[in-house]
């Protein structure tokens, strides 16, 4: 009985000491990202996963890679003009960029139409995507390397270029629950 008490006290002491040294652990325990509503199907990776170091293009033909955005949390989205749910969610990504750019988020929307710029540009104009650059991956090289099979697929990438998780399917990205999810990672990865 007395031994058990001592054991328990010892355990408490060890936990207390740990918390004193690493106070952020408790915070993390109490603050899990909430996956509901628009982002309920968000699939977080167990461990942060490296992303392929492949380049897509901007509209001037320059190579662009995930590493170019180091220091920012990225929402990388693959879309196409033939994909109705993709076209539907793009304006919400534009609004999300306007809302969270100051907090360190960068939305990277990559078009995979084989027609490239000529296919995609009218949509960018019509949807008034003034906060997003048009990026192109007409041969789907990057999307395939990232394991995209469903359109749309969006990835959350941390400040060091590692995949936090992905959402297959469309969402309203400026909804409260999506913003809360992204803010969680913006704070954590700070």
């Amino acid at each position: 009985m007395r031994q058990a008490f001592l054991g328990l006290a010892g355990l408490i002491a060890i936990i207390a000491a740990f918390v004193l040294v690493r106070p952020d652990v408790l915070e993390r325990l109490g603050e899990q990202p909430v996956l509901e509503g628009q982002v309920q199907h968000f699939a977080a990776t167990r461990t942060l996963r490296a992303t392929p170091d492949l380049a897509w293009r901007d509209i001037d033909g320059n190579d662009v890679r995930i590493v170019d955005f180091a220091g920012k949390v990225l929402l990388v989205n693959f879309w196409a003009t033939w994909c109705a749910p993709c076209v539907r969610e793009l304006p919400s990504m534009n609004r999300l960029q306007a809302k969270l750019a100051a907090e360190g988020l960068q939305v990277v929307a990559i078009n995979v139409d084989t027609g490239g710029r000529y296919a995609a540009e009218p949509y960018v104009q019509r949807l008034a995507l003034d906060r997003l650059s048009l990026y192109l991956d007409p041969r789907s090289a990057v999307s395939r390397a990232m394991g995209v099979s469903v359109m749309p697929t969006s990835f959350l990438i941390d400040r060091r270029g590692r995949e936090i998780g992905r959402l297959e399917g469309g969402a309203e990205w400026d909804s409260d629950e999506a913003v809360a999810l992204i803010r969680y990672y913006l704070r954590r990865a700070a």
Partner: protein, 709 residues
Amino acid sequence: MLTRAPRAWPKWVALVALVLAMIATVNTRAADAQGAGSWVDYGQGRVRLVSATAAAAGDRLLLGLHYVIAPGWEIYWRSPGEAGYPTTVDWTGSDNLRAGDLQWPLPRRFRLLGVETYGYKDEVVLPIHALVERQDQGVKVRGEARFLTCNEVCVPHTVNLALDLPAGHATLSPYATLLNRFQSRVPQSDTHLGLTLERAEIVVTPKGEWLRVAMRSDEPLRAPDVLVEGPREFVFSTPATRLTGDGRGAVVDVPVAASVLASTNVSLVGKPLTLTLVDGDRAREVATVPVPGAIDAAVDGSLLAMVLIALLGGLILNVMPCVLPVLAVKVLAVVDHAGNSRRATRIGFLASAGGIVATFLLLAAVLAGVRAAGVAIGWGFQFQQPLFIAAMALVITFFAATLLGWFEIRLPAALAGAVGRPTTDHRLGTSFLTGMFATILATPCSAPFVGTAVGFALSRGPWEIVAMFAAMGLGMAAPYIAVALVPRIVEWFPRPGRWMLVVRQVMAVALVATVVWLVSVLAVQVSTLAAVVLAVLLSATLLLLAWRHRAAAPRRRWLTLAAMSLAVVTIVAPAIHKAETALTIPDARWVAFDPGSIAGHVAEGRIVFVDVTADWCVTCKVNKELVLNRGAVAEILADARVVAMRADWTRPDERIARYLEGFRRFGIPFNAVYGRQAPGGIALPELLREDVVVAAIRQAGGAALAARQ
């Protein structure tokens, strides 16, 4: 042994049965393999190649791409709608085969996330007609199929399909029925289905364009529908369908919207379309080009708005350059009343106003009638008729004779009674006719607001035409009505005296000038010979009238008769002489009107400027003198990067009328600018201004041209 024998027999039977069963199974498997490739499971369904025959016999094959689609998922028709893409197959790797295009069974409409698409669910076979190159050998079919399937997400797929057919006899495969079932659902373009397209027209509503398709069937329609395929600048959404009286006709209204790819507001008028007329399982494919149709019933309030616009348009007609030829008639109307009693003045001006409104109603009746007969007709149509020109020239000649005191015009008693109270005042008749001729001569040209009002009226029923024209008449008569209300205005003129005689003579000369102008129009419209004949006849008539005036009473009667006969000859003479030559464009800068070539010029980066004009359109001449032939605009039009196109509407021309209708205009002057940024054309206002034209050219994509100025 004997006891065991009965037990051994069933064992043997069982073995044989087993072997037979195995052979049977293998046989069915073999039959299965004959005429179908193996399934490729793509996650949201499976797909394979099938053949109607088990072996390659003869030079033709009917193949099919057989999809069995998981619930909720869709694959797309050849025109997928607002999203999606159709299946494409690359046959590289096939042997002894030349595959034709995929055939598309009638699709269904699906709506997902507010986007309308055409496609297939559950099961479909896309038939493929193929040719066998060497008939004594087997066929190896290899296809790489690219397709998209969507539910709430989209999944693009590329799958490799294979099917081998040995050379052999043409025995039907187990898939022949399936293939033929879907083959029979592919819409055909022949008429044996009993579905016919009556017309396809563009209807304009306050909310945008509709494509109105009228179709007929030889049997009662059950579920009529129309699928529309057209240029990618347009999106066609779910139509509203209504059956006509006997149940064999249907009118299908398809809303047309500009797609993401449309750069400016373009009209579907004149664009080639493929329509699939559908009734249940029957479907027929028809290629057509829609024509401009009615402007659809706007909301109630806007009829009132259009009436106000018509009133305003009528008022503006009084100050358009086109009024120049009848200025004399108008001045006369005022001067004539100098020294009259207020009551007489009031009645006289009301008579003129009545003449104006009556003329507008007459025009309305003619337009409604001709329109009902299905002929494209525009504002100012009367000036395209040589008979009308000749008649007008004659009437004005009589007018001039009246001014000179050689002749008096009397309104028929019945008409006089209708206009006002019966009166012996001959000037009442003159006033009424003055109003009529001022109107009929001053209205060949369109004007701001007039174009809108006429466009609205002509696209509606006869009652709207009458209402709009009555309003326009009231607008044009407004100055006369104003004087009738305040007759004191006329009292500002000096008392009648010698000055009036002088004015009348000056006006007579002005009217003769108008006649000269009309004769010159006829010279262009018919021929110089016709114009000369008319001029001679008119002079003769005038001389006869003068002679009659001075002649003694007994002679007057037969001189009157002679003048009248000559008048009849005058009117008919120019009509007998037919026009032989095409209207030529004397100005080298301008090319002949060819609406079909505009798109080509625009595609090559040129600016196209279209000017629709006519010899009788005075406003057009003013536009030319003040804007088109001088300064910045003239310089731009002379540039090699600009195609200046002129259409001459002096004579009736269905093609020009239809072209104008594409812009919902029915009168001239009309000008439009086309360019890369405005492939559908920018219509300019009736009265041109240099800055407006330059701005339109800049907007159409000719910024470099416009900037140089």
